[in-house]
């Protein structure tokens, strides 16, 4: 029996959350979301250009999916920017969830840990349910959790890199040291095997975008990630066998033909 996967008390049946960006077409985005079985989708806010009708079609399509919405603060570089975007998101999307992104470096889009803590504290105090996109630094994650972030979303690798888990030790340590936190890997995964790997570690879920949207066949890749997340979770619950450095035959040795036992 598995424990429910919950985001601030909201139980989700699927442990996979998908982004809505970068798909070749809206049709493929919608079908990928559907085939993934995800129940929550990330989205964002940008300045409205009246001549483009404000992205009304995207909004209509996303609403029709009836998925839970997880708005992000992508692109924010200061605490005030993040807080303002979070407040605007809450008004539009009518959710207290906010995927808090505060970027500290343009090269690898690494989250700024200091500003992240400051912004998380302000947003939690303002009633938000904060899902911080963070590095895999144990102390940072502990501080965020102690502040009240029930959900933490460490990266596996830089956003959009597809490199997979760069530091499995760090992720395993997070799971070990924060057993009660809801941990999702967010960013850097490229293959279903990467998702399976973190789920086998005991992570509660996975958040993806580029790995599905930029696949040659996004819909099929969405299905593949859904299977991988499920397989990884089952493996974690099943408990892996202990590893060892030497071989151990699986077929019984006793009764092996052609083997002669010398008399003592």
């Amino acid at each position: 029996m598995d424990k429910p996967f919950a985001i601030y008390g909201t139980v989700l049946q699927s442990r996979l959350i998908l982004g809505s960006a970068l798909y070749p077409s809206p049709t493929l985005m919608l079908e990928s979301l559907r085939q993934s079985g995800c129940e929550a989708v990330t989205l964002s806010l940008r300045r409205q250009a009246p001549e483009s009708h404000g992205g009304a079609l995207f909004w209509q399509q996303i609403r029709e999916t009836q998925l839970k919405l997880l708005p992000n603060t992508a692109g924010c570089q200061t605490v005030q920017q993040a807080v303002t975007v979070a407040q605007m998101s809450r008004e539009i999307f009518q959710t207290h969830w906010i995927k808090l992104e505060l970027i500290g470096d343009e090269y690898n889009l690494q989250p700024d840990p200091i500003l992240l803590l400051q912004a998380a504290e302000q947003l939690l105090n303002a009633g938000f349910q904060v899902l911080p996109y963070c590095t895999d630094d144990l102390v940072l994650c502990k501080r965020l959790y102690e502040l009240g972030c029930q959900v933490l979303m460490p990266w596996a690798a830089p956003i959009g890199s597809g490199l997979g888990v760069l530091n499995p030790y760090a992720l395993r340590t997070l799971r070990e040291r924060l057993p009660d936190a809801t941990l999702l890997v967010d960013a850097g995964l490229g293959l279903p095997s990467h998702a399976c790997q973190v789920m086998e570690m005991g992570f509660d879920g996975v958040l993806l975008n580029s790995a599905v949207a930029m696949a040659k066949d996004p819909v099929r890749m969405a299905q593949a990630f859904a299977s991988a997340v499920s397989a990884g979770r089952q493996a974690f619950l099943a408990g892996a066998m202990p590893t060892q450095d030497f071989a151990s035959p699986s077929t019984p040795v006793l009764g092996t033909p052609f083997w002669l036992q010398e008399d003592a």
Partner: protein, 78 residues
């Protein structure tokens, strides 16, 4: 009411006071924020000088020269 976002673009020869609307300099032909909003399609949210302004306050906002207004809408995101 200001009918067109574009028709009101800043022109140094004719515009003495201006503000910034979504990064573009606009003539401040009216100081009422609500006069500029009909050009935008719902849903949108708004920030004035980097601070969130709730929709219920739009009618109360008086713009000053140099103000920065951001009006945002949903887009795809990861």
């Amino acid at each position: 009411m200001v009918n067109s976002f574009h028709a009101n673009a800043h022109n140094n020869a004719t515009c003495e006071r201006s503000f910034w609307l979504n990064g573009k300099q606009i003539c401040l032909t009216s100081t009422r924020l609500s006069d500029y909003l009909p050009a935008f399609k719902a849903p949108f949210a708004l920030a004035l000088n980097g601070r969130f302004v709730s929709a219920i306050r739009y009618a109360d906002i008086v713009l000053q020269p140099g103000d920065e207004v951001d009006i945002v809408s949903p887009i795809a995101g990861g």
